[in-house]
């Protein structure tokens, strides 16, 4: 999904299902096995390996958009169609652009750490990470 966004990174190191994994009304991660339980993805750049599980996830993602609790962007190692569909409809229904990027050269979950500042330019395929403490990469 195209578009630009910028925000603080939230990194989940395990795959996650939006259905039963994210509360769309608050943006909170409710999956205890995700490694990021209790964190909030709202307005953040949400980094995780890949989406899994229920086909209802696309609708949960869209509901998070409606509630203004969606992430600013999503960075995956591999994106499932579930989330792409959610992002396409977010633009159609609510005029909100949420870039979803994958196939990054290196595993984004290893390169990006929590609190890093991430700039996503999905139109040009650029991902810029500013370390929370250690300068640019």
């Amino acid at each position: 999904m195209a578009g630009k966004a910028k925000g603080e990174a939230i990194v989940a190191t395990r795959s996650i299902s939006f259905w039963g994994g994210i509360d769309p009304k608050t943006g909170r991660i409710i999956d205890k096995r995700s490694g990021s339980f209790g964190k909030n993805i709202s307005g953040k750049v949400f980094v995780f390996p890949y989406g899994k599980g229920s086909s209802t996830s696309s609708a949960v993602f869209l509901e998070a958009v409606r509630c203004n609790k969606a992430p600013a962007a999503i960075v995956n190692a591999h994106t499932e169609p579930l989330l792409t569909v959610g992002a396409i409809l977010a633009m159609k229904l609510y005029g909100k652009s949420i870039p979803v990027v994958d196939h990054v050269e290196t595993d984004p979950c290893e390169v990006i750490a929590n609190h890093d500042l991430v700039e996503v330019d999905a139109d040009r395929g650029i991902l810029m990470v500013t370390r929370a403490r250690r300068g640019k990469k």
Binding site: W19, G20, P24, K52, S54, S55, T56, S57, S58, A59, V60, L62, E63, V65, R66, T79, E80, P81, L82, T84, V85, G86, I88, L89, K92, L93
Partner: protein, 412 residues
Amino acid sequence: MLDGEYGYALETAMSVLVKLGDMYGADKMIEIDNVHVDASTYAGIHEAGLHFCKTLAKENARFRVPTTLCISAIDFSLWRQLRVPSKFAKKQRELAEAYARMGATPTWTCAPYQYGSGIRFGQDIAWAESNAIAFANSVVGARTNRYPDLVDICAALAGKVPRFGLYLKENRHGQVLLSADAIETGHLTCTDYGTLGYCIGAAVGQKIPVIKGLSPRPSVDHLKSLAAAAATSGSVALFHIIGVTPEARNSAEAFGNSAIEEKMSVGDEELQRAAMQLSTVEEGQADFVVLGCPHYSVEQIGEVAALLEGSRIRKNVEVWVFTSRMASMLARRKGYVKTIEAAGGKVLCDTCALHLPLGAWSFQTMATDSAKMAHYAPAIIGIDVVFANTAECLNYATKRQERVRSQYCKKK
């Protein structure tokens, strides 16, 4: 269609489908004959999904192919008796109204392949709901990919989908050979087939298993349980059973001359381990007995009636049998529903225990004969689960035994 000359709804649908096709390298769009929509429950699709459906209906969008609906979040007749808040019921009724305007058939069932949908071997279809996808591909031999909610609606509006994945014969061949030779399959119940499916899904993940050694031939209800469980523990969209399913008359056909990537076997030990995983408590006094996930057939309702005949269910235990309105009508004609109700049980239509708002009931422990229900209920409802055979659940509910014990598969 993509350029909007057919209106907002079709343009939206096509943009989603084309994007999906691009992601998977589809070569073209193909016509489909049938759609099963999973985005049918307000509890699953929330306000955003309802808004989407209502917007489409207002734009006079129409489904182009026969389209059935998966479960609703309420039983449309009994929701008051089930203590569903009327505000919530109203939302589900608005969703039903939007689907009616678009031309969907109000089947409200997760097992449309038993009552409601006519699909045939080799047909290209677009189905959502994991158990229905696995059943349609594997047992019927129709062809569908795993569709997310809302894409199912897009497919019904367009009557087309991008061609990739399981629409192509070369992608339907088996990858993993799974031997069930060590299991005595003659006496397996539907619950046991669920346990078996749960083992298979966990073992193969996203790959296509070819199962051998299931003899005598499993019934449709057995296969329904197996499909639902395999699609729960793994992302199984297609399985083959040699000598049973239509694309596996023999091993050569199932594997299509491609190499077997992996060989595994399932025995009593694996079944026992899976059954143990599915229970959060090994035995106990459940207050909520849930049968019918996926929706029960007339024959399964008949089995419950036979087990309840002349008995009375404990005062503090609810026994709910979930089924489609079509199966319920036939079961009523056969006298089964009357028997179940006389014992104190309920036969519920259109819905699912994972989607019904159960807040007013304060249930503590569920007993269920379904592997899929046992897997999801602890997280979704927040409840303890004992996974047990149908007879075990009902013997407990009718006081023939004091506690319900979790299921272990019979030893050879």
